[in-house]
């Protein structure tokens, strides 16, 4: 997190994330945490094909929503400055936090991309009709059973790996908040809730 300056809302106290970064974080984070069990369910209900079909469509819709938000967020993250890390962090922890956050940021883009690759290479050719509103075209690839299988397993591995990493990330945030009692988590909360009463 280079630099100290933050372009974001005036009412953010120094050292806090801007409101845009905060909204992106919680929106993408929560959708991502819902999307993993939803993906799991698409496989768990294989004996109920009608339900499975519907769950697939929900999973694809939420997935494309995450992809769109995550791309905007990535751009935001690259174009604006993030607050400097809280002071007094051990070097290893800072490095670990940076790595984990960079990976999570990347995975929120790459995991739905691999999902899109499944939909695009599946011989079933099922259109992606996001929330029954917008058709997202298939990527220009040749459908085949093998490609479908390859992207499916990559998608599953990456999604579950991202889930594990997110758990470590959440654990670290809670550790800071409840045990170390520092401002790490408050920096990621909306200004009104966390800061106004300090006036």
């Amino acid at each position: 997190m280079p630099g100290r300056k933050h372009i974001s809302p005036r009412h953010s106290p120094p050292g806090a994330y801007g409101l845009t970064a905060i909204i992106f974080h919680w929106l993408v984070g929560l959708l991502f945490l819902v999307q993993i069990p939803l993906g799991y369910l698409t496989q768990a209900v294989a004996s109920r094909p009608a339900l499975q079909f519907d769950l697939y469509q929900w999973h694809k819709s939420v997935g494309f929503l995450i992809l769109a938000l995550a791309l905007l967020r990535l751009a935001w993250r690259l174009l604006t400055k993030s607050p400097a890390p809280p002071e007094g962090l051990p070097h290893w922890e800072l490095a670990a936090a940076r790595l984990a956050q960079a990976l999570l940021l990347l995975l929120t883009v790459v995991v739905p991309l691999t999902g899109w690759l499944i939909a695009s290479t599946s011989p079933l050719r099922i259109p992606s009709y996001v929330f029954n509103l917008v058709v997202v075209p298939h990527l220009p690839l040749t459908p085949s059973q093998d490609a479908d299988r390859l992207w499916s397993s990559l998608h599953a591995y990456l999604a579950y790996a991202a889930g594990l990493l997110a758990l470590v990330h959440i654990g670290a945030a809670l550790w800071h908040h409840f045990l170390l009692r520092d401002e790490t988590l408050s920096r990621m909360l909306p200004p009104a809730g966390s800061h106004r009463r300090t006036r």
Binding site: P49, F53, Y129
Partner: protein, 189 residues
């Protein structure tokens, strides 16, 4: 979404053809629908394209009556389990309880109730389509394509909604409308 009745319509058409009365006499009789017939269907999908397939297993008869076309009739049955789309996972899905539920409803049937002439070579065949435990009136259009001796060929088309039969899974990605395009070959018996 299967239509079998169409054939009937075709028969009617036959009757009506060039010189109605004369041709009627020629064609009157009972016909068995032969295995060379083709029951094809298409379901459009959002964004273009669609799902097409056919049902290779079916049977039926056409009864072309003398005089009043209205008294002619068609019966048709097909085995939804025979569906082929070229993609085995789609076939399995269609056979499952998501769509045809072939384990509990192994047959789809059509019985004509009325035949109406549309023009010299085509007729509307009204009848009752039964699928997945539900029966509803449906209409198909039959056109005579060929007649020769003991054989007759009809082109039969018709649109059937999936939802009234509890088969609307996948809408609106896949259209609610199944378009049938059938070639029905009858042989006198």
């Amino acid at each position: 979404m299967h239509r079998r009745s169409i054939i009937f319509g075709a028969a009617v058409v036959l009757l009506a053809r060039p010189a109605p009365a004369a041709n009627l006499d020629d064609s009157v009789g009972r016909y068995r629908i032969t295995a060379s017939s083709r029951i094809a269907f298409t379901v459009d999908q959002v964004g273009g394209g669609g799902l097409s397939g056919s049902f290779p297993q079916f049977s039926g008869t056409i009864d072309l009556r003398d005089g009043a076309l209205e008294r002619s009739s068609v019966t048709f049955r097909l085995a939804p389990a025979s569906v082929v789309t070229g993609e085995s996972r789609v076939d399995a899905f269609l056979r499952s309880d998501a769509v045809f539920d072939v384990a509990r409803h192994p047959e789809i049937t059509f019985r004509s109730t009325r035949v109406r002439l549309i023009d010299a070579s085509s007729a509307a065949i009204e009848g009752i389509l039964s699928a997945r435990g539900r029966s509803r009136p449906e209409t198909f259009t039959a056109t005579v394509v060929r007649r020769s001796g003991n054989a007759v060929t009809f082109k039969v088309t018709g649109n059937v909604l999936r939802s009234p039969y509890g088969m609307d899974v996948g809408t609106p990605i896949y259209s609610n409308i199944v378009r049938f395009d059938m070639t029905i070959n009858g042989r006198r018996f």
